[in-house]
Amino acid sequence: MKNKPNIMSPELVLQLINEARIKEELAIPIYTSHIKQTLFWSGLPNAKQEKIIASLKLLEADSQKHAKILKMVANNYTKYLKKYV
């Protein structure tokens, strides 16, 4: 007999999407800010530190895009649940 697959409830799915959006939209800038302030402690050469900071900026910009996508997914999923479930 096959095991019953572990299916998440719609509420949990929505909660996880929301947490992921918060992380992308709001938490990533917090981590980036902390890392930028403390990067000098890494002992890495200045050129490498600057490279890391530039990459962090890119990632931060990407995260904002991801946040928009997640918001859209959450809205569509809510609409779907209201209509069909």
């Binding site: 918060i22 709001l26 800038p29 800010s33 902390h34 302030q37 403390t38």
Partner: protein, 512 residues
């Protein structure tokens, strides 16, 4: 054994040898030069002060030798099944914290990569803050708890909520601590390895370094503590809980009756009880949480006051409980707790070490200062070897010497506060730190700076008197003038640090 490890071990051994030789000479000098009540009394207190620094230097060297042990015995992870994670209650106790600080913490806690978590905001704030705080918690899907009676301490509010916690683990973040997403997966992985692990402590890293010289100095001091000291404590299973950024077994906390509400450092006092039950603790030396350092001199001194009063208060109870046979700690744990609890007597030690050259230049006591050859011949090698040992270990961790030195200076400047707090703690009195803050500027008023000002004046007076009598005993006088000059310069730093922080635009933590 690697060449570098061998070099370090030789250095540590030499430093330990220098330390023992110096201490032996100091004992000899004390017992062979005792005459006159004032002379003997001053020499006795000086010996006590030096014994304190020698003991802590020895503790530091033993810790460094322990760090050479690369066994991963204390860092073994259990494999976690992401679909079946043990439950964790995340508690954020706070009192009258600014909303923007709280929001940043809420965001980072919600973003922890862990499905089976329950976040609870324990609000001990005044009435006027409650509505806004509650709304903020709800905005991020965080449970809100506010006790009927206003709690007096962090320990009290956590204890009031403790009976309703059913999860296997609890973790606590202070309102200004921002964890990284992997915090729980890593610490729970460590805790799941054995049910004898009572708690796992992770470091605090202050990221507002550029906010003020105080913030930078406090951050450096914290780093010295969390890098070398805590790692060594972790190796001997005696790392204590620092009140934030830790994961604890709920059952362990419940067994000891919750956090100790009698101590102002409830975390330290509770750790002793948990260790006494046979639980181990782990120090996970990976920065997984960022926090905020105090930015002004009053805020920094207030923090030092609380920590010192709490630690010495625990020492008092440790002695009483040991006497009554209530404590069941291993020798290594007793040693580590002894070091932690006695560290804050450094304020007394510093005062005595400052007073002695002044007394010699003004009144010719202690008399053995008159023949500095033996003292210099043993003190200089000990001091130089200890400094090389200390700086080499910090340099390996990429700290700049200037910053490490600034951290040490800030520690020394706390001496009046440490004297007050440790005295109160020994007498078993509960005192609060009240200091005149000049308006809302975050500065101490000029009058509040009297302990530093008087000591500077005494040093200048002693230097002047020494110069006037220079020909009487040039070698001894010059040595003591050097010490007085060093102390006066060090103390004068308090005026530079007692400034309102100016946060440059480029350095401000810019949260969106």
């Amino acid at each position: 054994m690697k060449k570098r490890t061998r070099i370090y071990l030789i250095l540590f051994s030499l430093a330990a040898l220098g330390l023992f030789v110096y201490f032996g000479v100091r004992l000899y000098v004390f017992f062979s030069n005792g005459h006159g009540f004032l002379n003997v009394t001053i020499s006795f207190f000086l010996l006590l002060a030096e014994t304190h620094s020698i003991l802590h230097s020895l503790g530091f060297i033993i810790g460094l030798i322990r760090l050479r042990n690369t066994s991963d015995e204390h860092n073994r992870h259990a494999k976690l099944d992401r679909n079946n994670l043990p439950s964790v209650s995340i508690l954020i106790p706070a009192r009258n914290e600014p909303l923007d600080i709280l929001e940043i913490t809420f965001i980072s806690v919600v973003s922890l990569d862990y499905v089976n978590k329950k976040i609870v905001f324990l609000d001990g704030s005044d009435e006027k803050y409650l509505a806004d705080n509650k709304n903020l918690a709800l905005k991020y899907g965080i449970d809100y708890f506010h006790p009927n009676e206003k709690p007096k301490s962090k320990a009290e509010i956590v204890n009031k909520y403790l009976p309703s916690i059913l999860s296997k683990y609890i973790t606590i973040f202070d309102a200004d601590q921002n964890p990284l997403p992997e915090f729980l997966m890593e610490t729970v992985g460590l805790a799941e390895y054995s049910n004898k692990i009572g708690f796992i402590q992770t470091p605090q890293l202050y990221s507002n370094l550029n906010a003020s010289p105080i913030a930078r100095g406090a951050a450096l001091q914290q780093s010295i503590f969390y890098e070398n000291v805590c790692e060594a404590k972790g190796k001997s299973g005696a790392m204590f809980c620092c009140g934030t950024n830790f994961l604890m077994q709920t059952v362990a906390l419940k067994k000891v009756g919750g956090f100790d509400e009698d101590s102002v450092t409830e975390d330290f006092a509770t750790s002793v009880k948990i260790h006494s039950l046979g639980y181990r603790s782990i120090y996970y030396n990976h920065v997984r949480v960022f926090g905020m350092a105090p930015e002004t001199l009053p805020a920094y001194l207030k923090q030092q006051f609380r920590w010192s009063a709490g630690s010495v208060g625990v020492l008092r109870r440790l002695v009483i409980d040991s006497w009554n046979g209530k404590l069941h700690l291993r020798i290594s744990q007793v040693w580590e707790y002894f070091l932690s609890a006695t560290y804050y007597f450094v304020g007394w030690s510093f005062l005595i070490l400052m007073l002695c050259p002044i007394l010699y230049l003004l009144f010719d006591v202690p008399t053995y200062f008159a023949s500095p050859y033996l003292y210099l011949g043993t003190f200089i090698p000990y001091y130089v070897l200890m400094m090389i040992t200390f700086y080499s270990t910090m340099k390996r961790r990429h700290y700049k010497m200037k910053d490490v030195f600034n951290g040490i200076i800030m520690g020394s400047l706390s001496y009046p506060v440490l004297i007050k707090s440790t005295t109160a703690a020994i007498l078993g009195k509960r005192v609060t730190f009240e200091i005149t803050d000049k308006g809302k500027s975050g500065k101490l008023s000029f009058l509040s700076l009297w302990p530093w000002t008087i000591m500077i004046a005494l040093n200048i007076l002693a230097i002047t008197n020494g110069l006037l009598h220079f020909s009487e005993n040039p070698y001894a006088i010059i040595v003591n003038i050097v010490w007085c000059t060093y102390h006066a310069l060090l103390l004068s730093r308090v005026f530079k640090l007692n400034r309102t922080p100016i946060i440059e635009k480029n350095n401000v933590l810019n949260y969106t």
